[in-house]
Each structure stands twice: as structure tokens, then as C-alpha cells.
Symmetry: D3
């Protein structure tokens, strides 16, 4: 069943999320602090048994210089710089096995698949620790470090995601002018965050993005992981204001206002994990060129493999434009 407003109202919906006055300063300072560390990119070939795709085990310095892992996949034997897709993973998962997720490399692109620190244990495996601790928190990652914007878990993850783009661009096999970011759910939320923090991306793709419109998301669904916020506040009574003050710095609604790269977003009208109004909350605020794909009968699986098919067509055109320098309509 539809889990949210009728589609016509969704298209007009405006999030109530606030825009902290020092949002930009906060993020500038955060990135500056981590950029003080050398990127320290390491790229090691991995034996996979595959013959059409080469896979490399990549490590780079993320938040606070802490090591972050990723897989780099490229068409076998590639020698010249490629248009590149930097992908972020959904909640609870990791970069997986090197033999998984062959789509983007098979499509002829370099594909940097970033691990999510501390996760990678619920549905696909990860290898990146999260060396920072936390105040009292509920199970999961939504309330880790939520006691302040400085300690909040997603401050570290978003910084990792920005640094992943920089790590990609440092590689000879990557055409730095043609880098797009992409992800689904949490990965889509991270793609939107990077879109708000990195100005010169070739494209942004977010499938059914998470991490958007926290004021509404925390009260409109009982599905995890948004529900983690409510469970925490049910015990930490009286912390509502402080928690939402922190979350405002990490909300896709606020990143979207600052984004300029062309974006392709998808949303599913029967999604209770990322209710469609929260996605439209970000989409309707998105400052760059944009298009949205609405999947009326889908839940959080969204467009599934068809989201990839749509994204491939979109990115192919955007990468071509980036080559020729055409503006986006």
C-alpha cells in the first residue's frame, strides 16, 4: 500500500528541516581537518578468477586520516583514464566480495566501491573499522555519537565519502573530470551529501535515498533504521531538540540545497523504510538539474536492477557531456 502522501502532494511537499546558520562552516572545518592527512592511497590487485574485470583492493585515508577500504573494478586490461562511478553502500552492508557488483565495470567504467566504516556485518561483508567510540547509543549506527555534531557517526562517514572521490581522482585510471557518485538507500544519502560538498561532479545518482528529512522521517515510520532515532529518544527523554540540532547537519535536505551537479533520484511509493515524502523533501530542494523516477508499486527495493539501467543511460549522457563540455539542460 502507499505509505505516504498521494503523489501529487509529494511533488509539492517541502521539508520542515532547518538549515543551521553555520552548516557550511561546520563542513568546511570538518573536511579541512581530514584533508590535513595525506590521502595515502594504496591499490593492490586481487585475484578473483574473473577475466573481463580487474579488481583492486584500495585503501585511503578517510576521516581523521583513518584507513578506509574500497574495491576498484575496471574493465580488464584498461590503460587509459576512464569515466568513474564512486559508489556507497546501503545501511548495514560493506563493500562485499571483490567478485560482486560487476555492473559498472562491465559497462566500461572505473568503479570505486567504498566500504562503510564499522558496518559490513548485516548483509554484505566489510573490512573497515570505525576507530571512534560513542556515548550511550542504541543498537545500530543512527545514534552512534549523536551527543554532538562533532562526534556523530555520519560526520566520519560523509567525510570518508568525500575523500573517496578525492582518492578516485588521484588514480591514473580515473578521468578526474568525469567522476559521478552513486548509491542506494544509505548509499544514496551519502551520494547526496557528497553532492552538497563536492562542487565538480559529473553526476549524482541516488536510489531511494536514506538520511533525508529527519524531522519527518523520525515520526512517520516504524521501520528501521529511522526508527532507531525514536527508540533512542524514547529513553533519552528531553533530548529531542539536541538530537535534531545534530541531525540538521547531516540531512540530505540541507545538502541538496547546495548541490549543483545533475542528479537522478528514484523513489518508491510503497517504501516504509525511506518514506517517499522524505525523498521528495530532498529532491524538491535539490539545487542542480534533476530528474526523479517514481516506482509506484515498490517498497524499499525501489527500481532494483532497473534503477541501474536508468542510471547507466543517465550517466552515459552526463559523461559524454562532461567530455564535450556541454552544459546540462
Amino acid at each position: 500500500m502507499f505509505t505516504d502522501l498521494p503523489e501529487a502532494q509529494l511533488r509539492d511537499y517541502r521539508s520542515a528541516q532547518v538549515d543551521p546558520a553555520d552548516f557550511d562552516e561546520f563542513w568546511a572545518a570538518t573536511l579541512e581537518q581530514s584533508r590535513a592527512f595525506d590521502l595515502a592511497v594504496s591499490v593492490k590487485p586481487v585475484y578473483t578468477g574473473l577475466v573481463t574485470v580487474d579488481v583492486f583492493d584500495v585503501t585511503f585515508a578517510g576521516y581523521d586520516g583513518q584507513p578506509v577500504r574500497a574495491w576498484l573494478r575496471v574493465p580488464a586490461g584498461t590503460t587509459e583514464p576512464l569515466a568513474t562511478v564512486v559508489q556507497y553502500v546501503g545501511y548495514g552492508g560493506g563493500r562485499g566480495e571483490p567478485t560482486e557488483n560487476l555492473f559498472w565495470a562491465s559497462a566500461g567504467y572505473a568503479h570505486l566501491h567504498m566500504d562503510t566504516r564499522g558496518q559490513g556485518s548485516s548483509w554484505s561483508i566489510g573490512a573497515t573499522p570505525d576507530p571512534d567510540g560513542s556515548g550511550p547509543q542504541g543498537p545500530g549506527f543512527m545514534t552512534r555519537g549523536i551527543e554532538s555534531r562533532e562526534t556523530y557517526y555520519y560526520r566520519r562517514v560523509i567525510t570518508d565519502a568525500v575523500r573517496a572521490v578525492e582518492a578516485a581522482r588521484s588514480l591514473p585510471i580515473v578521468d578526474a573530470e568525469r567522476v559521478a557518485v552513486l548509491g542506494g538507500s544509505q548509499g544514496g544519502g551519502l551520494a547526496l551529501a557528497v553532492a552538497g560538498l563536492v562542487p565538480d561532479l559529473a553526476g549524482v545518482v541516488a536510489y531511494v535515498p536514506f538520511l533525508c528529512d529527519f524531522p519527518r522521517a523520525a515520526t512517520i515510520t516504524d521501520a528501521d533504521p529511522y526508527r532507531e532515532i525514536g527508540r533512542f529518544l524514547a529513553v533519552h527523554r528531553g533530548s529531542e531538540e539536541a538530537v535534531h540540532a545534530t541531525l540538521a547537519y547531516f540531512d540530505g535536505v540541507n545538502f541538496a540545497k547546495r548541490a549543483v551537479a545533475p542528479a537522478s533520484i528514484s523513489v518508491a511509493l510503497m517504501d516504509s523504510t525511506c518514506p517517499p515524502s522524505t525523498v521528495f523533501g530532498a529532491y524538491n530542494n535539490y539545487a542542480g538539474a534533476k530528474a526523479i523516477t517514481v516506482w509506484p508499486y515498490n517498497g524499499h527495493e525501489g527500481g532494483g536492477p532497473q534503477d541501474d539501467v536508468v542510471a547507466l543511460a543517465v550517466l552515459r549522457e552526463l559523461f559524454d557531456r562532461a567530455l564535450t563540455g556541454d552544459a546540462v539542460a
Copy 2:
């Protein structure tokens, strides 16, 4: 939690399934009837946007000459015959999108991914109808046509699966001496069935196979789809004997006794969909060379991407042996 017997007992477990006296005659007649139709293999290139893998839309004549669809994926630009993996799909799914499931072609093999007639609507899309009707049945496919062995749904599907091997071997790009069958869950059950009906396969891979040891499977779990049998019998009281007499012709336990190709099977000790004893019921009866991978802490997802990694190593060795004519230990 463990869903079945302790592992030590599983390794000694023997299924109570019976072996109908005319099992071989039934299947010989069934295949003969369908082989009377021309294979009518059609192979059409599909535009996918991929550059390292070519995909073709294949149609061939399955049971009773009825058209069955499949995707054929090969490393882009392949010209000479390849070792080939014929894959069957899990319950409820279809062959999916052409852009999915790139693993086997990326590993350098021809990959024929057969659609399952009538299914392809629960988690991945299919395109093959099941033109035959059914007597009274419950929702799903387990009791479709269960009124007799002649009309049972899986008679048609298993025939399709055998014909898929024959269709593959008819293609110039396939090295007919090096064809393996593979699948997970229902796909694994079909691989075992084909292993019992086609004598000269290079290898057989079944991940957490379904369609095994019906007498136990129908009474030891409340998980679908085995549970469909029980729900049907709860209404069709008195049909227990007739239903199990039909099922005996379609049980992996009986196909395994007849199989000679080397097999790699996996099983998960926390699997309630395909409880481990039902898998060991088939494995312990398997007549050919065999190995089993036990995933102690997994449910029906089994080894997931690691099942593929194991299978790739196994098949690589088996295909090499097939090339050199070495016997299997």
C-alpha cells in the same frame, strides 16, 4: 538457531524417500516426448550498454515444444567455443534483467540463464509462460498439476532444464564437452534433477537445493514453499499417499542416485526453507564424485557470494579436467 539434526547426524542421515520402480521409464518417456519437437533455438543480441559482456535473448523449445526463454551471456567479442554454465533460478524468480548476473560471463564462461516457466514475478522478472493448466491447487507452484505425475508442474520445468542443456550444446559458442549445470534453492534442485537425467555433464553445482526429500520436507518445516504441500493436504484430506506418490518422481533424492557428474553442493545449518537434512538426504545418495560445503551460521542465503567463489574454483578445475580428459577423483 540450528533448524535440524546435529551435523554429525546429518552426515549419516538417509532419506526415507522411495524409488518408484518405473522412475527411469517415466523420465525416458517424458524426455522422448519433448525431444520429438525441434529445439528451435533462437539467439538475438540485446543492447545492454555493457562493454565487457555480450548478452543474447535465447528461446528454445522446452517441454512439449513450448518456448522457453533464457539469457546467454559471454565475454564480449568471444569467437571460439567456451566452457559453459547453465544456470537455473530460485523459486518465484525469473531470468531477470539482461544486465544482472554478470559473474559467470565475467569469469570467462558462456552463461545460459534459463527462465522458469510461469514464475518470474516474485523477486526477479521472467518472460516464459506455462501454457498448461492445473487441477485445484494452492497459491504457488508446488501443487500445480499435482493430481498426477503427468500433469505435475515440475515435470515440465525439469524437462525445460534438460532441454536447456541441449540448447546450450547446440550453440557454436558452447563447447559441448564442457557444460556444467548450476543453481541455488529451486535452481539447485533443478541442477540435481538434470544431473540425474543427463549423463555427460562436466559438473553439477547446487547451493542449498530445494525439491529434495519431500516426505521429510513436508513435515519438518513451516516455511514456504515446502509448506505449500502441507497446506494443500490440509484441505485435500486423504490425498497424502497420492501426492507423495507423485512427488517421488521429482525428488532430488532419487535423481541423486542416478547422477554421475562431479557435484559440489552447499547446505546451511540454520536454513528453515530447505532444512539441512533434506539436502543431506540428496547428498548422501549422490552417486557421483561429490563434496559438500556446510555453512553453520547461515539460513537459506547459504554461502551467498562465497558459494559462487567456491563454485568458480570447482568448475575451473572440472572444466580443465574435461579438456584434458582426466578422471575425477
Copy 3:
């Protein structure tokens, strides 16, 4: 809890379902095709041990001349033509045992209880096959043959239901001037469909009818069987328009517009299987004389035995009027 709009809004609710231009042509052609076959009514006495009711096993030619089963129950020893109730069964069930459902015969009527083809395996037993196959479908009957209006499962079932009335009227024990149709849930949906296709019924009774207002039904509830449509469309992305174009030919909302016989309908305000707006969608469009019974605190069980009590009073009056030729107010 109430599962839908407040009652006042329900009474004003108008379905958004469309009325295909060739709806009448489609059904005229469909019925004509099946009427080309002889009705081939067979009536065989059944030993039940009952003394006040005689039961007969009836077979007649339904859709495409295919055999359809039914029980005929009459007061024991009846010799002259009786007012008759033709009843259709709820989703998943069959005509059951001959010893069940004694109400209508005990009330003095002939009672023809039609089996539903292919069903009869989920909660009451059936004996009628559905000889036609299907394209890819989900478990259940809602998406069987949904690839076109010609192949859709309910085209066959509704034709069976119309032919059941004709079969009843062909029997000496049935007073052809006094035949009513009745059913609950799917059976109620079928009664409405027959009401739209057969002009001279004495009455129509539909308890909490199913198969009404598909555009809303498919998006307002997560309960099966309406949910089957959404699950199918979640995989067959992009088929929304085609699927709903098919369903429009089978929607009680459209049959209701064409119905002229007096109707008694019930609806339950806590019903999530057949949400009340979907029932009012049909009721508010019903063209003949009509009354609705609202059960405020019931779910899909509706009025249960009290629905029968209401129906008996209604039909008694309608049959009396039919005898005397009085018009209905």
C-alpha cells in the same frame, strides 16, 4: 480499527475506475464463444447420510466448454420447481463437501453451489481444474493470465459463473423466473459480475465483495489477495498501465453500472481484505435497486451468519415479488 474513510465519506465515495469503451463488446464476445458449447449439464445423486436435504453432483460446461463442478442441494423429496440461489465461493476455496452449507436448501430453495476453477485448496475443497495456463505470475490467482484481458483468469471464472445460472435454469427443479445469485468476498464479486451480465435475475446478494475498484484496492491495503497485484507490479515494473487496463474489464465497479436486478450488499468498516471504499465504489455505482448493510466493528468476516439471515429475508421478498410480478421499489 476502521481501515478506510469515515462512513459519511464512504457513502459519497466514487471510484476512479475507468469504463473501457468496448467493455460490453468484450463480454458479449466472451459469452458468445462459450455459449457455442453445449451446456452439457450432468446431475448425479450423492449419498450423504442426510435426510432433510438431497444433494447432487452437477457438472456443466463453463468457459470454453470446460467442465465445471457444483453441488445442487434441495429439500428432500422436492418435486416442483423452486426458487433458486446460485452461490459462488470465496477466494481459495471450493464447493466443499456435499454435507456443508445446508442453509439455503433448508430454507426451502434449490441451491447450486458452484466450484471455482483451479482453487479449492486453501480452506475448502474443490474439484474443478483450470485447464488454461498463464504467463509469468505470482502465487495465487490474481495475476494468472493477467498479460491480457483474453487470458486473464477471471475471464474464465466469470464466464463459468454466468453459465452456472444458465445451467441452473436448465434444471426441472429450478424455477427459471426466480433465480438469484449470491456470494461472499470473491463470491460476492462474482455475483456482482453476473448481475452486470445477466439481465433477468430475481436478486443479487454480495457480502463484503472482492474484485471491486482495483485502482484503489491495489494501493490501499497490504492484505492478500489484492496485494498480489502490487507484488506482481513490484517485479513487473512498467506494466502498471497494462495490468490496470486488463483489470478494468473485470471490476465490480463496471459491472455494477450495468446491473438491474435488486441487490443487497454488505460491507465491514474494519475490513482490510476488502476495504470498505472498494465496496462502496461498486455499491455507489450500482444501477438497480439496492440496499447496503454496514457492519461497523467487523473485519472481512462481515456479518457472518447474520449476513445469511438478512439475505434470506431479502430474497424471500424478492422471490415472492417475482412470483407475483410486482416491481421492486
Copy 4:
């Protein structure tokens, strides 16, 4: 799935239930106390609209002379004494509508359908109050008055059930030599209890009986209503012994030891409400002639309408024997 021991072990299973030394004295005194009240049978015709069955609203003096309601249904126009079925209702239900449950009267018997005091509000309607109160109790009826055998709810209900047989026998339309008791679930448990307390019944029929083998029932299933006992004891810690001492006076296992009338019992191997061992616990102790029908793939619905078919055949033979005075094999 099977919910209990394998069938072979069930057939040998012996309940651990104890037999209180003063069991017979307790029940003799209980019945004597209530028999001190006049039966006060009232029989009033009810208008139902039915023509083959006449229905009467019966009231008689049950436990402590308190009024208990029942429906009496007989073939319309009956004038001479009939073999009679006294039926008890399942947990939570009542005698229902007069227009329901026409099977036994349609089969030519008098059918006295006793209401269950205080219940009749969960799935079928009742009209009999339970005028006695209770100590602290959980929701439901299993722990009402469980503080002593004197106050326990089922003391009153079983007395009502015995008095219902006496009320039936007091009616001119009932052949007092040919009275059988029958019921499903709670109704089956009551039939067994009456079988242990009334010596001259023509037959006893219990479908999937409840109220048997409390020591095992209270610890082997999480399904209500047996689970009510465990929930009560989880709060009333330390009352285990006292509660089970009370329950021993109401256990079908102990009534069965005293029963002499021929019995037909059914049991379902996938029943978690009345696990099969608890039914065999009573059956294996049953002192009279007996037969058991095992439904291997059913849950608590047991044989459904086929349980009735079996019972009709059994009772027909037993009533015939009762007429001719033949002994039962």
C-alpha cells in the same frame, strides 16, 4: 510441520497426569449439589425462515441451578422420539445463531447445541451468563476460579454439560436410550468429561479435544488457550503445585479412564493448539471401545467437515446398535 512426537511414539504415549484419590467423590458431590435444583427445562419455538428444520430455544438449570441456553434443532415436523446428539462448543464461542449448524438435524437427529456459560463472544455468539466471580485471573477462562477445585470455571461448565444430557433426555422428542455427546476442541474436552460422568451414553465423539493432559499441555505449546495457564503461573510464582492439583480434577485424561461409552476421537499431527500427545494422553487411557482418526497434515482445524462425515457414520451405527441392544465390539 509436526508439532509433537512421531506418530508411533504418540500411540504409545502415557500421560503423567495424576488421578486424585477423591476424584469420583468430588464429582459425585458436585453433580448431586446441582441436581438438587429442578431441571426447569423451557423449550420455545424460534422463527428462522427454515423449512426443513425446526429450531427451539431451550433453557435448563445447569450448575447450581443457573440457567443455561441451548438450541434444539430437529427435522421439521418430527413427532416421534429421535436419536439425539448433544453438542458442546469450542473455546470462546457460543451456541451461535439458530440458523447455523444444521448438519445433525438434517441428518435426521435431534440436536441439542449447548451454549458455554460466559463465553460466546470471540467467534460465535452466546447468551448464557456465568454468574459466579473469580479470584485474580488472566484474560480468558482457563484461570477463572483456579484458586480451588470448587471455584474453578470448568466445574460449572462440565456440570452444565452433564445437565444438558439430562435436559435432552427429559424431552419427548428425544429417545433417551440413544443420546450421544459430541464436540470439537473445548467441545471435545467436554464430551470426554461427560463420558466419564454419565454412564449410559450411546456414543462419544471428540474432535481434536482440548482440556487433556494439563501437565504436558501447559509446557509444550505457546498457543492459547493452554498458554493461559503458563501466563498465570509466570505471575503467580509458587502456585504451580496448587494449580495443577486443581486441574487434575478437570483433565480429560482422568475422565477417559472412567468412560465406558464407545468413542470416536480425532487428532491432528500439526496441531499446536491441542498438541497430539495431549489428545493421545486421553485416548490411550480411554476405558471404553474407541477409535482414533489421525489427520497428519492438519492443524487445529483437524478433519473439518470430514470429522462430521466420520462421526455421522460412527453414530449411525452406534444408534442402530442401541436400538437393537447389540454390544459394541
Copy 5:
């Protein structure tokens, strides 16, 4: 997620509950009848092993003179009259162990914790029987005796609650001028009822109160115990009007209109057991001085230990005012 109207609408919400013309007469007569019995207060010391709190086992004559139990807890060695909190228990629970619930005595007050008749078996233990029986009812207490206002279960419980205040005031250790009533859920509903029936209380505290706004409560949630009403009416079709006519005499909305003591109420916006509109339905009608604490992210646990902290501050001030005779703002 929020389970009801937005907070702004909640603050304006007016219940549709009716105010029976003879509401006051009914309650005056009810109390008069029970006050005809001597209070018969018994106070016995209990050994608990505690050293800072003394506990006494209290019995007094409640409804119809029937004995009702309570714990009286006071700071150890108290000799002079204390301000006193009379507390009522939540649904299904009892007064518990004497060693539980030490908060109010530790805060320096006399604390009379009244048992709830017949309950005390679901989550905390009770010792008070409910000697009166009932008509047909569903499991639980919501429909016990619902056949009339005279026999309704809560008539007895509310009378007990009023008599508990009177029993407290009869004790030398209680300062009769400074008695407050308090409770959560059912206990909160009882506190509101007492507030409407006893004019000279020092304060009223109700956490997430139950027993309010039955017309809405019975149709807006599927959570027990309000759902008990709907389940009863689903079987007792046609009794809606009678049931609601009874409930109107027991609705917190109607008691609130009559209350004059200062009240502190809490409500939780994610509460589905006592949906916030039902609480506001009572609060917005409350005639005395009042304040409400809104817990936005809590379910039925409401403010938990913080509800107590708030109540302690409120009562401290109210008790002080009562001492000095100041009016409440």
C-alpha cells in the same frame, strides 16, 4: 511513529462522547449502595526485610462491601499524619509484592497501592477476587458485565477506587486533607474517575490514562485492551448502541467534566494502546486546574520514571498548598 492526529490538532480535539442525563444519579446511587457497608479497614504489618519503609497489608470494603486489598507503605517509624498518594494499577496487574514500588514512601508520603479486583495475573500479582459474574464476554475485563451499566466490571472497580480514598482517610497515619490519587494507564483512568466523584482531593495524577473517549478509542486502534470492545461487537453484532450507552457512564471524558482537583496528566504521541486523542479527549474536558506533559517519542511507556519525577514535583507543591490553604492558580 505518531499514532494519531498532529499535536496542534490534539490540543483542540473534542471528544464526541455523550454525557448521559442521569450520569450523576447513577454514580450517586452506586456509591451510596456501597457506602452502606462498613469500610471494615484492616491493617496488618508485613515483614519485608526493608528498613527504611514499613509495609502493611490493608483490606477494606469496596463495591458492595466486598473485600479489596492494598499495600500501605510509609517511611519507617512514621508517627504523625502524612500527605498520601492513593495509587491504582495498570490493566492486568495487581498490587504486586510488598517490596516493589518504594518510590512514594521513600519520598516521605503514605502510599496506598490498591489492588484491582480480579486482575493481578498478567504482569504483577494481585490478591483481590471479583466475586461477581458476567454475561457472555471476551477474554479480558473490558466486556465483563458489559450487558448493563449496573453489571459492568468497571462500576465495581471505580467504586473500589473511591472507597480506597475513604479507607486511606480513615487511617491515623493519613492526613485526610492531603490525599492525592495517581496511576498510569488503567490506573490513570481510575484516577480521573475518582477525580470526578470525590470533590476534595489535593491532586490528581494520570499517566497516559486509559478508559477515555470510548467512541474513538474503540475504532482508532487495534491494540488491546481497547480492541476487546471491537472484538466483542464483531460477534455481538447489533449491540453497538447498547455497549456504548453503557460505556458512557465509565468514560474519563465524562468524569473529567466533573473534576475540580488540580490535575497533572501525561500523554505519548507514539502510543497506540491509549492513542493521544483519547487522552486529550479527557484532558480538554477537564474542569479543574490542569497541566499536560507531552512525550513526543514515547509509546505507552509514556514518561516512565520521569513521569514519577514530574508527579513528585507537582504533588509536593500541591500538598504544600493544601497545608497552607492556598488556592491553585
Copy 6:
């Protein structure tokens, strides 16, 4: 229902858990490292409004000198050293509000209620951060840092628990000769761990202890938090051996072997969170004097308030013996 072996087998059950050769060295080194930091005990009075109990906010240096919070509660106005109960909290909770948990202070003891680092957000509030990070982990605390015994979360928590005893003993109000440890579930597991690491405790009380017999616990139940281990291993395939090698250093079975203080343990036979065999696995290995309370009809709530009553009697006797120097039988 019983969730594990019959009680007789439980009493003989021996865990298969291994005893690492360097278990004692590991813990000696761990404690030595943290004891290198000053205990840094801070004790600040808290205003609570209570009059019989004084509450203090305590901070001390736990693992690695990191600050850990606790509440200290004592009978108001205490001046001389008291026997003392150090309590640990159940999984997900924190030390709660100062106004909660008044039982032990009301019983005349000093009560140090230790917060659990990083938790305190699921059902009761906490205030202690866990400053250390983690490798990839699932939601919750069971797999935090599980990549090695050095980094495992419970290494830090158990060290905190040992230091809490030392912090208590450093306080003038505590009689260092009479300190007992106590807790339920996770708190019980911590009490057992401390019992294995601190030799001179007056007593040990563990209600339904968690953290025992990991090899069995991880495979016998699907209930959290033990299930967290299985979910992690389902993704981190191949890490079974390493994970269990880590867990062996934290298993109550191994701590119990080393414990010498008299212990009172409780277990519930219907507990699926901490299945009874895992508790008996520790109990049957416990080296000191011991007694077990079996709650046959309880789940994980165990004895609830009666566990406290039992513990008070046990500790009173043990504290008396400690005073007089009597040996324990």
C-alpha cells in the same frame, strides 16, 4: 513452553565451552593495565526529592582509566560502613534515573548501581560513553570489537565491573569486607565474571544470567542478543573459529570455574533469551558454594520481584556470616 532440555537433563548438562590456556594471564594483564590508572572516585550528592534514601552520582576510572558512572544509594543519614550490593544492568539499559531501583538501599545496604558503557539507550537511560571504536560489527554490542580478545567490548565492560567493586570498597560508607555483586541477564553475566576475577566477595547473585556458554547459546536460540553472534557470522563466513576463540575469554562458564564466593543463581525454563541450558552450563561449573532457583513457567523475566526477595534473604545471611567470619556450608 519449555525452551530447552528437560530439567533433569539440565541439572546434568555440561557445557562444551573450552578453557583457554592463557585465560588467567589474559585477565591478569587486562586488570593490571587498567589498575595502573588512579580509581579517581568522585561522589556527588543528587537532589531527588526522596527522604529515606540518599543518592550520589559516582564516577570512577574503569577500563583504561576511562570514566564510568554509577548511582550510589544509601539509607538517608547513614554514617557508618554498610554491607554493600554492587549491581550491574541488563543489556541495552543504563543506570536509569536516581529515583529508580530503591530496593537495596531501602533494605539497609549501600547500593552501587554501575552504568554500562555505551548502552543505556534501549530501556533505561545511561550516561557512560564507550570511547573505543570497533571493527565491522552488527547492530548491538555483542560483536563490537569481536575481531580480537583485546578489542572485544566486554573486555572493557568486565574490567569496569571489577573496578566498580574496587571503587565501592574505597568509599567510607562501604564495609569492604561485605561486598556482594548482583545483576540480572547481562548484569548476571557480569556478576559471574566478577566472581571469577575478584576472590573475596561476600556473595554473588545472578538472575537468569546472560554471557554464558556461547557455543550452545549461539546455535540454540533465535532471540537477541545471542542471535547477534549468528547474524554476524552469517555475513563473516569463515570467522566462526576466530569469533568463538575470542568469546571463550568472556564466557560465564569459564569464570564460574574460578569463582569461590557463595552464589545464588536463578534460571527460567521458558526463557528463550538466555536458554536454561546456558545458565546451567555456568552453574554446573561454579566452583564455590551455590544454589539455584528454578522458575518453571517464566521466560526471561525470571523471578521478577521474587528474585529480589530470594536474593535479600540470601545476602542477609551471607553478610551476617561475613561479619562473624563463619564459613559457608
